[in-house]
Symmetry: C2
């Protein structure tokens, strides 16, 4: 019976020929789109949110489109409507948020993963992906200098990675009560850099510590955590009646890409006998580079590390990772029973069952895209492109430093650069005026759409913040970028205080 071909009737939703026809057309549309990205004047067609919403708003259709229109509809909606409503990140004037300008085979990996849907909660329904994730975890452990006792997992991003690490740290600190009586009555704290990512404080809030339980350590002149400030932070925690259970360092920090001195911080963590977590969501990729990896010296002493391949490893979201030097502490963060998931008769499978050690249960096989890209291009390609992005940020710094109407704030340690526009008409203006001017200029850039950068906020001052995420960005493109900032900045300055307060709404005018 089992040898003959089974009849399978595909509903239209699962029809292989709809997939084939729409798939080929979409591949060509996307390839053409990318090949022509340099001929676009705009990387973003700005619309106010309510206007964008109106373009898509309708009642949920009960019937869909006619059968003979389905392939066309899929191609239109994805390859045209959706593409044209998106930010065009491969455009070389994208110097924006810390999300990757993705490598193209990663999109093909996500196609395959979504087609097969091998979710990773338990090994048996996803043996290939779970083996690939285990290999990836070994690669990351080796890079971090961890031994075979390390374990880790792919998560949806840095926020969940930081939450997972702090959960493991908290549960290691309070012990079995985490699963029994809970932590009510425990007055806990974590020690962070003043420049920590907001997800660290958010994780502390989720865990019930409150903002008061997040104790900042001052930063030095290069905006790195100053390890000499840790003792003061523990004193402040003690004064609040709180016990710190972890120190969280950054490698590189979100505001300026600074790398905290991990060796000295690890010494302090050892002295205090508490957990060291390193948020290397952005900077972990430096470990691949001979010339940059020194910035992470000491990471091998961390108890846990966050690293997002969807930042500097060219991976589309979502692909974060969390690694623990002692892998048992990862399972220790979650130990629980769920009989419909875990086979009590085969406990040796459990370490390959992702849900045993993850906040998520259903886990998309996000590991596959990084595996395929590393196999095809090698780690050296990733190191090269990381170095290229950092070098481009340095070039931008030099352009800014040499321009009379811009002001540098820091030398870039990686690929993040904060700076200010100070046109001749605002030279000598007060801080508030310059803040408003730079914020209005940034809003004007977004609404203009020819280039993109993010807002920065350092020491309560508004600044411009460019992050070189795009390996296609060259010095020639940077010159164009600076020219656009100058052009729009002068327009914004001419509008004066009232126009600035309104933001960039009429910067085109």
């Amino acid at each position: 019976m089992h040898r003959k071909t089974r009849q399978v009737l595909f509903p239209p939703t699962h029809d292989p020929e709809i997939f084939r026809k729409a798939g080929h057309r979409l591949i060509d549309l996307l390839a053409d789109y990318l090949a022509r990205v340099g001929s676009r004047e705009h990387l973003l067609e700005w619309r106010e949110p309510r206007e964008a919403l109106q373009r898509f708003l309708e009642k949920a259709p009960s019937e869909g489109v006619a059968p003979e229109r389905r392939v066309e509809a899929i191609v239109e909606l994805l390859g045209k409507t959706f593409v044209e409503a998106a930010m065009h990140m491969h455009h070389p004037l994208y110097l924006g948020h810390q999300v990757a300008v993705p490598a193209v085979p990663a999109a093909l990996a996500d196609l395959t993963v979504s087609f097969l849907n091998p979710t990773q909660a338990v090994y048996e329904i996803s043996p290939g992906a779970n083996a690939i994730e285990a290999v990836l975890v070994r690669w990351l452990a080796d890079l971090m200098g961890f031994d075979e006792h390390a374990d880790g997992l792919v998560v949806s991003g840095g926020s969940v990675a930081n939450l997972t690490a702090l959960l493991a740290a908290r549960n290691a600190f309070v012990g079995r009560d985490a699963f029994g009586r809970g932590v009510a009555g425990e007055r806990l704290a974590i020690i962070v850099s003043a420049d920590h990512h907001y997800s660290i404080a958010r994780a502390a809030m989720i865990l019930g510590l409150g903002g008061e339980g997040v104790i900042p350590v001052p930063i030095d002149g290069r905006r790195r955590m100053d390890p000499r400030g840790i003792a003061g932070a523990t004193d402040r925690a003690a004064a609040l009646g709180r016990r710190p259970f972890a120190i969280c360092a950054s490698a590189g920090s979100t505001p300026v890409g600074a790398f905290d001195p991990l060796q000295e911080i690890a010494d302090e963590a050892r002295r205090l006998g508490i957990w060291l977590h390193v948020d290397a969501a952005h900077g972990g990729t430096a470990l691949l580079s001979e010339s940059h990896r020194g910035k992470l010296r000491g990471i091998e002493r961390a108890d846990s590390v966050t690293w997002d391949p969807h930042k500097m490893m060219l991976m589309p979201a979502a692909l974060g990772t969390v690694m623990l030097r002692d892998g048992q502490r990862l399972i220790g963060a979650f130990h629980q029973d769920a009989p419909y998931l875990f086979d009590a008769y085969h406990p040796e499978l459990a370490q390959f069952d992702i849900a045993k050690k993850s906040i998520a249960c259903t886990q998309r096989a996000d590991c596959v895209k990084l595996w395929v890209c590393i196999k095809v291009f090698g780690t050296r390609s990733f190191a090269d492109l990381y170095e290229r992005c950092c070098a481009t940020a340095r070039t931008l710094y030099e352009m800014i430093a040499g321009a009379p109407d811009f002001e540098t704030i820091h030398e870039p340690e990686s690929n993040i650069l904060c700076f200010r526009h100070v046109p001749a008409s605002l030279r000598g203006a007060d801080a508030r005026t310059l803040d408003t001017h730079n914020a209005a200029l940034r809003a004007a850039v977004v609404r203009d759409g020819r280039a993109y950068l993010t807002p920065g906020h350092l020491d309560e001052r508004d600044v411009l913040r460019a992050v070189v995420m795009n390996p296609m960005t060259t010095a020639e493109h940077l010159a164009e970028f600076v020219a656009i900032l100058r052009e729009l900045g002068e327009k914004v300055a001419r509008r004066g205080p009232e126009g600035r307060a309104r933001g960039g709404d009429d910067a085109k005018g």
Copy 2:
């Protein structure tokens, strides 16, 4: 300057022609694979985890493959190596975990999303996807009977949805202290069905309640939460010195797909003045069906609802949702500042900035796949396939009920069916022997690979659990499924106690 075509030099990782060539070949491989899924004898080629790991284990390659081999390598790794190592979910004898057998255009949507990478933390870098998500949230709110004050978001799955909802509930209960002093000193509890999904208890553990703070309510004969038990649960919470802040109901439950009586539970929640959360991760899709939606009567009174389109809406992972009847409470769960993300000069944008109301910061545009599938096929297609899966589970129930060597345990309320194999040789055997037999049979099925089902555990008894996730499964396939269970079950029974204790390792022999 801006009108001329900009020169863009693509590194091989971003080369449009590598994408085009590998993409076309992959589309054909996947379409052919799907068209032939019925001719496969096995839906899984079982390997022990360590053996699977060995197949993939290697040092991270520094150099990758030669340039002229790259397209071939991408196609080989994804279209062959990875496909052959996966569970073949479209195979009609897949009756396994609650993850979707995905609709094919959803894979094309994920291709497009990963190609463009419009991450949704802030509106301005993802205007299209954020508008689409807002539309999707309106569709879900309408289905649930919520008004325009409702808000929600796409998350990575039910676990994060449940955590988000309980976080909002906790923060609404304790007020501003959640962001200030934290919740140390608060002895809190949640009230759950005895058949709650483990992610509810896990969320409580993350929030610091401990297992003791998760108070179960007994279930009735159909395994639904018995609302008359809620008063007893609040008494038990009080005896522990704990204040309950939420009741969590299931619609459908994970063990058997039971729908808790939401009206009566909502009455109790109102009487107690506490939050009602409905975990409709699996059963929310019933809202689309005229004949099934009555099971969710009362959901419009919930404060929050979890619903995973990556379960019964044919969506590949990851695509969960969480909805709040009062949308302000969603932002209230997370209120925080992050200047590099949120533009203080344009606060009206904040409600379109996903990160303001999400555990994740970087958020993949997972909403796009559901949007495109609903536009193309209409909600009616989803309702039809949901009804078909439930009807198929009913057919399986009738087959089991009519077979002398199988035992039914419950009538299916949706598409989940637990049952037992009791061959003639084990009739009258003690409970422990039957438990071991059924667990060993399930392990044997997995290792045999011709069919797939999950383990169940009801009232401390091991059972078989089939979930009809595949709309291609017909009565003829079910007959084949039952025949395979019978064949392997008799083999396992012949092996006797020692063989059963070893599990299914040699069930083929």
